[in-house]
Amino acid sequence: MKKTVLAAAALSLALSLGGCSSGLTILSNYRRIENIELVRTVAADKEADGVNVAVCGTAGEESSARMYENTGKSLGAALGELALLPLGRDAVLSHTENMLIGEELARERLGECLDYIERFSEMRLDTGILIVRDGTARDLLHGLTGEDTPAPDVIAGLSRNIARVGDGYFFTCREIASSLADNGCALVQCVRAQKEEKLFEARGDLNIAPAGFAVVREGGGLDFLSDEETLGAMLLLRKYKSRIVDLPLPEGALTVSVDSAAASIRPRFERDGALDRVEIRLELEANVISVSGEADLEDRTVREAAEAELSRLFRRAAESAVARSQALGLDYLDLESIIHRREPLKAAPALKNWADTFPGLPVEVEAESTLQRTYDIVDPPEDAKEGEDPWEKMIRLLRGS
């Protein structure tokens, strides 16, 4: 009997503490699931006396997105005080996919934003960080949100497709913080608002477009890379996935999809062991998508010309990325650790004074391209006789004659 009473008491205690009665809980992070307002995107901008945050939250899949704004002395304060707003719901930041940061705030206080994500247990390190150029993050977030298209969905769509079209890469908080700690600088994807004609009414007033990479320094500071430098950085950081390129030819043009670009980076040393140069070799594989004009793909010289042009474009992108990095004196391409991994002993003296060595280090870039998807291009065998059909040649070889 005594045991039964004890068991019943324990059960009722557990149930009452667990939210089955008046909502008392043992743990402080108890939330009723139906009260959750899921924040998926945070926009942060510099204000005169602090930070302004705008968040886009949804209650469920079917419910429309809602915007909330608050201003605080810091990002943490502004987001923390969201709970005090009369939302009627519990704002949960754990599912924040992307944080849009205004250019001014990024220039001065990006470290603080990263620090908040790293420290606050609810935030995730794989939150994407985007810097908004030519406008405020808040305006972009408002402009993106339409009746049926919440801003987080639009940004998530860009995140999925940006690497596929080779226009950039959404660096996460983890990657940026890690690069800042290792190299003192990091690359961040930039975006800008784009005013376009609405495809349908339920869409927001603005669209979001990639705007290249920005270079952030530890302790503040911001530089922007051109499109070509962005492509080069993606190649060297192995963030490249695919890109569609138009190749002008003497007689027409070729559109190819460059689906593979493997970058191999090797340090070369002098006889006395000093670091002589860095060689970068790009191996590109492209598939022909369309041919326009009179370009004859059966002509080897045409194909070679196309391959050469493609190699030139990508080589130039890589060279410009390295040149900009050296000009800024910021190794955001992580060459130091690549060289260290390749030759840890030989490279040690050069890496000791890397900050001095890096800006003047000769870097040679080579690129080799291969055009594929050539099923309508028949390669004549090496020893084919003049005018011989390749199939006849194959049959001849099979017959052993």
């Binding site: 059960l11 557990a14 149930l15 503490l17 667990g18 939210g19 089955c20 809980t25 043992i26 743990l27 992070n29 108890y30 939330r31 009723r32 699931i33 139906e34 959750i36 899921l38 998926r40 949804t58 209650a59 469920g60 899949e61 079917e62 419910s63 949960v92 754990s94 599912h95 996919e97 609810e122 995730r124």
Partner: protein
């Protein structure tokens, strides 16, 4: 009213008293099935003896044909009296294969209760008992609970002799010993210990014998009487004795080095020691292909995790750790829960209770009605409850998943123990979220790891055993490969199968 009128104590049976017709009749007074009649040996009216038997326990035709007919034959017993008659009967003049000379009343009464008839010589104050058991018993049938497609179809029945015969037919080994015990101060149930002499660990046999002898009960009529008395920790809800209705599974385990128990009146065989991994195996494992059997065994272990943890994990993440839920799923959950009036904790507890109620109702009711109740219940609980916004669909999915995973448990007792633990883990999750689940799991692992069955760690080979035997529990090797036996069983061959 009845409490005040206590039944008078039954007269003590004078076990050592001499056997007389009057004494035997006094013992069985008030038993309508007790029969006593006077016979004249060799047809001689001056040579009367009393024949006693219990109707139903003996075969009437056997008594008439094998006992009464020769006894009344003048050619055999004319003029043969008392001691000479007893001697002639024991010498084979009666066509019964078992005849015993009884001088003690207790022995004679015991024989009568075991399907013997007794011929009482008042002058000799002794009796001769003949075994003429009735053949009215359930025949050997296919297993009802542990069915296999490819495998033996002879399940144990309630009769000990038939069960021991089934075992003997499969293990034709002169070293197979079947040691008998009698349990129950009132019911006197026959229990036998089955093992292979010279192969099974003698310490295991001795310990099993000791525990069976130690059982104090009025009658071993249910399996719990045996199981709870011979396990190491009877408080644990986890089964520690393997019980099976399949004679082939019983014999396979005897060949592995386990000790078996057969109980008269129970259509089950019991095997010790029982370890966790043994409860994850089904007879089908040994009749199917070894790769398929291994995959299914792994699936059963996954089912253990699912049935135990799915509701608790759901409660923990839905109440405390929403960050662990993928965004899309969380959005669906919020949407689904918006119109439900109960908290997640109450919702899950209600669903678990409803599930248990349905299960109990389905089991207790006769088969066709039980199935109907299950279907109606599933419709009501699953569909109607969701439509009425009493519970959210995600909870129904989680509870159904846990329930279905629980049904894959080959052993009913193991399934019941896991269901109980599932409830406790849900309560822990309600109170402390993932910390509660982790603590609950730690306590469960601690409890399971601390269990032993006849000196064998319950969680072997996962704990308390060599790691190299881990695959034995998780996978089934091909029968062409020389198998390692469980080394913990301490068989005489050192754990290596003789091929």
């Amino acid at each position: 009213m009845f409490r005040e009128k206590k039944a008078p104590p039954a007269p003590e049976l004078a076990e050592d008293a001499p056997v007389t017709a009057a004494a035997v009749e006094a013992v069985f007074r008030g038993c309508y099935d007790f029969e006593a009649r006077t016979l004249h040996l060799g047809g001689d009216t001056e040579n009367p003896v009393t024949l006693c038997f219990i109707d139903g326990l003996v075969s009437g035709s056997d008594v008439a044909e094998q006992v009464i007919k020769p006894l009344t034959d003048p050619e055999r017993f004319a003029g043969v009296r008392d001691a000479a008659a007893v001697s002639r009967m024991l010498g084979g003049s009666v066509y019964v294969y078992t005849a015993k000379h009884r001088e003690k009343l207790g022995d004679a009464a015991g024989d009568l209760l075991n399907g013997f008839c007794a011929l009482i010589f008042d002058a000799e104050r002794a009796a001769v008992t003949f075994e003429v058991k009735s053949q009215q018993r359930r025949g050997v049938e296919a297993p009802k609970e542990e069915k296999v497609v490819k495998g033996a179809k002879d399940a144990f029945v309630e009769t000990m002799k038939i069960n021991s015969t089934l075992v003997r037919r499969k293990l034709r080994n002169p070293h197979l010993k079947i040691k008998e015990f009698t349990l129950g101060t009132r019911a006197e149930t026959s229990v036998t210990l089955v093992y292979i002499d010279g192969f099974t660990n003698p310490e295991l046999v001795a310990e099993a014998s000791r525990r069976v002898e130690r059982i104090h009960t009025e009658g071993a009529l249910t399996s719990a009487v045996i199981e709870e008395n011979i396990v190491d920790n009877y408080r644990s809800p986890f089964p520690q004795v393997i019980s099976t209705e399949r004679s082939d599974k019983f014999c396979m385990n005897i060949l592995e080095g386990r000790v078996g128990l057969l109980v008269d009146g129970l259509p089950l065989g019991f095997l010790v020691p029982g370890t966790f991994s043994q409860f994850m195996k089904v007879p089908e494992d040994h009749s199917g292909h070894f790769i398929v059997a291994s995959a299914l065994t792994l699936l059963r272990y996954i089912s253990v995790a699912l049935t135990l943890l799915a509701p608790a994990f759901y409660v923990a993440v839905a109440m405390y750790h929403q960050e662990m839920i993928p965004t899309r799923l969380l959005q669906s959950m919020i949407e689904a829960h918006a119109s439900v009036p109960f908290s997640t904790a109450m919702e899950v507890i209600l669903m678990l209770l409803a599930f248990e109620l349905l299960q109990e109702a389905g089991i207790r009711l006769p088969s066709p009605i039980g199935e109907t109740v299950s279907i109606i219940g599933a419709l009501i609980v699953g569909q109607s409850a969701v439509e009425a916004s009493v519970v959210s669909p995600v909870v129904v999915v989680v509870i159904a998943l846990a329930g279905i995973a629980g049904y894959t448990m080959p052993n009913l007792d193991m399934g019941s123990a896991l269901r109980l633990c599932r409830f406790l883990l849900v309560l822990a999750a309600i109170a402390l979220g993932m910390f509660g689940v982790a603590m609950g799991c730690a306590l469960l692992v601690y409890h399971l790891s601390s269990l032993e069955s006849y000196g064998v760690p319950y969680m072997s080979p996962f704990a308390g055993s060599e790691g190299r035997h881990l695959t034995r529990a998780l996978l089934r090797r091909s029968m062409t490969v020389k198998r390692d036996r469980e080394p913990e069983l301490g068989t005489a061959d050192g754990g290596e199968a003789k091929l």
